[in-house]
Amino acid sequence: MKKETWKELTIGTINPNAGNSVQNHTGTWRSGTKPEFIEEHCIHCFFCWLYCPHFAVVIDGDKVKGFNYDYCTGCGLCAEECPTKEKSIIMVKENVQLAGGGEE
């Protein structure tokens, strides 16, 4: 994304591009662990969706589909709050490539 300067900005510091933060991939901060979805244990209670601070849980209708790792920061809240006896979400180690910032 090209960064606008004050010359291009609308007067009055208005940002007309609602929700354009989706271009900022917060998943690049993730370090160490990421959640893994085990579909066969999932009861689709949506708690992971509810408690994900970074909107990284993908849902389709009334089903949980997994994670959008572009945004997942690996905080582990989803795995902690997953209520199934055999966890449907587990945190796994991942090899970290140092992030180069949030730009596409």
Partner: protein, 310 residues
């Protein structure tokens, strides 16, 4: 009763790509509260974590009309906006039956301290909007200075625990009761760990005619110093220890929305948090005792208020 699966289908008004910390409680609150109305929504946001994290130049994480105001005047800004729309309707420039909802929001710094007079004024004048305070108990955005919402005994950068003091020596301000004293139609205290309750309260607040105030506890892994995956567990502990009781004041009537089966000791609340770590030293045992006493007193007082306003 709303189902989680149903509200999940609604469009997000706060979207991904914001810069809030790992395990932050703020998005959990707004994910639910902003879904409580499907009408067009205008938000004014005072300086604070939510504001700086969602509007990092040149991006915005807001998918709805959003205005940044200064630290002290989120409520005054929203009062002006609300009055403008009222005038547009009165002058026939907008249809009379056009429903628009208004929300002013700030953290505890922008509400308990800096924005209190603007908030009090707007509530007294009876503007028809909702004010939501996400209370993370400190000026978390600037590195964790103490605010008047910081609990007794907590270590913050401007009330550091050490040989002189065992953290903050003053009691937390009870803002919800201050707002209830404005005799506005709806005041409530909520918690993100109980989404149904938060959703119902936000819905009521949006629907009520006149000002409404929501005070929502917002666990902050960065300033409370706990493991970020424990955000929701800790929020639950706050309810079970009655440190943050869930109640509402509906047209002057107090109602407790959650009573724990067994009221837990405050140590369960203090233990996981680094900001209270010093309290477990022998010489600071009195602080925990005092803390428990304060929580018990508040809980008892709340029951009295329920009885009195029956």
């Amino acid at each position: 009763m709303a189902k989680l699966k149903d509200i999940a289908q609604l469009e997000d008004r706060l979207v991904a790509g914001h810069g809030m910390c790992l395990g932050c409680g703020i998005p959990l609150i707004f994910k639910v509260a902003l879904r409580a109305t499907e009408d067009p929504l205008i938000i004014s946001n005072a300086t604070g974590c939510l504001e700086v994290c969602t509007t990092i130049f040149p991006r915005t994480a807001w998918n709805t009309t959003w205005v940044h105001s200064a630290f002290e005047n989120a409520a005054a800004t929203m009062a002006g906006i609300e009055a403008m729309y009222k005038s547009l309707k009165r002058n026939g420039k907008l249809p009379q039956d056009k429903e628009i909802k208004f929300l002013a929001t700030a953290g505890d710094g922008g509400t308990y301290d800096i924005g209190l007079q603007a908030l009090s004024g707007a509530m007294e004048r009876g503007h028809n909007f909702v004010y939501l305070c996400y209370d993370n108990n400190a000026y978390a955005n600037t590195g964790g200075q103490r605010s008047s919402a910081t609990p007794f005994g907590a270590s913050a950068t401007t009330s550091p625990a050490g040989s002189e003091i065992p953290g903050k020596l003053q009691r937390k301000k009870d803002l919800t009761k201050i707002l209830a004293a404005h005799n506005i139609p709806y005041v409530a205290q909520a918690n993100p760990a109980r989404w149904q309750d938060l959703y119902n309260k936000a819905k009521k607040a949006f629907e009520v005619e006149g000002p409404a105030f929501l005070n929502v506890l917002c666990p902050c892994p960065t300033e409370w110093k706990y493991d970020e995956s424990m955000t929701v567990k800790l929020a639950k502990t706050a309810m079970d220890t009655c440190v943050w009781p869930l109640y509402e004041v509906d047209n002057g009537k107090y109602k407790i929305n959650y009573t724990p089966k067994e009221k837990k000791s405050v140590t369960e609340w203090l233990k996981p948090q680094g900001r209270f770590r010093h309290l477990f030293k022998e010489e600071n045992a009195w602080v925990i005792e005092e803390y428990q006493k304060q929580v018990d007193e508040d809980w008892e007082e709340l029951h009295k208020l329920v009885e009195m306003t029956k």
